[in-house]
Amino acid sequence: MRIYTYGIIDSNATIGIGGPISGLEGTPVYNLCYRDIGAVVSKLINPVKEINKDDVLKHEEVVERLMDNFTVLPVRFFTTFNQEEEVLIMLKEYYQDFKENLDRLRNKVEFGIRVIWASETIKNRIIEAAKKFNPSITLKIDGERSRTINANVTIPDNSPGKNFAKEKFENYKIDKEFSEEADRCIAFLDDFFSRFVAEKKLEKLKTDNLLLNAYYLVEKEKEVDFKEAFERAKNTPGDLKYLFSGPWPPYNFINLSKRPYCFKDFIEGLRLLEKETDTQNLTDKASL
């Protein structure tokens, strides 16, 4: 038997943690307390099997239930301990870290906003604009299309080395302009949300199409304002596609000065969990 962990909460209540909740394998979820905090766990009777989607969703469901009544530091999916004593040792050792995060994240939730833009159109526009400015420089991209861009630096075409450098430089200029355009677009969008958020994490161009992958930490009382801000952003003219999700537990806003075993790959693990959930949601929607 192993002890499966869902999250750290700001309560030492041994009972009544949001009504009866069952965890993985259907076993009861309970709170293991240390001082004024607790680790919410359940018992895993069977040997560890292969991780499946149902388990991931069950983990998420338990964390969400806890969120209704407590501040939660969600623990990485499939974090287990040999026995309860190990959980208590971990709570004791990292008590201060957990307390600081619980205090900082109290009454706050996370929202995710992802934005897709028409990257190919943007790139073509950049190239066309440069072509008008200086039509003398031609560059082949993808071996099919001939494209023209501007280069402020003149490199004569009289050697393989210079030609190669020129080609690379022209690509570099396109990428640079593309990246700056993304910065401008993100700043414009972020301006809608900034005044309603306590903290934020913005990821630019994780893929060419994925302009923005943003996580916003929002006080619960500002949730409505934040959602309205999203609607305003969404209604601005432009060829952008949005994915809005939340409120989530604060997966991306937990800062630990040192990482215990269960938080070893904390952020990465939880992001994977979120992606799994997102993908499932999207797949479900797509199949409707």
């Binding site: 992802r114 897709i116 004569p156 050697s159 080395g161 450098a165 994780k206 994925l210 997102d278 797949t283």
Partner: protein, 111 residues
């Protein structure tokens, strides 16, 4: 809790999220049958990272106008030979560009 997931185009987002997941290196494939390829993949990924960094730095210097024509010529030739050599090595070990990807955190993916 009133969780919402609103999405304009589920298929498009699913595709991008899948790309992101694929970009994460799962593990080094170093089983007895293909240990050579597994190691080559690891080493070539690191070389490719360094090559890309060199290339980017060179482009920044060209952009800043701090290089003479001779220096641009020399850098261009070096970058070209490096790229050709990498291409040869990839062919030898049967590796494709996308297999040498590396997630560089806030810098994005290598490829």
């Amino acid at each position: 809790m009133n969780r919402v997931v609103e999405v304009d185009n589920p298929e498009a987002f699913a595709e991008e999220i899948t790309k992101l997941q694929d970009a994460l290196p799962k593990k080094i494939d170093a089983n007895p049958k293909n240990v050579e390829k597994g190691l080559a993949k690891l080493v070539l990924t690191l070389i490719e990272l360094i090559r890309k960094l060199l290339e980017k730095q060179a482009m920044r210097r060209i952009d800043a106008g701090s290089l003479t024509e001779e220096e641009i010529e020399r850098i261009g030739e070096t970058l070209m030979k490096l790229e050709n050599k990498m291409h040869e090595l990839k062919v030898i070990f049967g590796l494709k560009d996308e297999e040498l990807n590396l997630n560089l955190g806030p810098l994005g993916d290598l490829m």
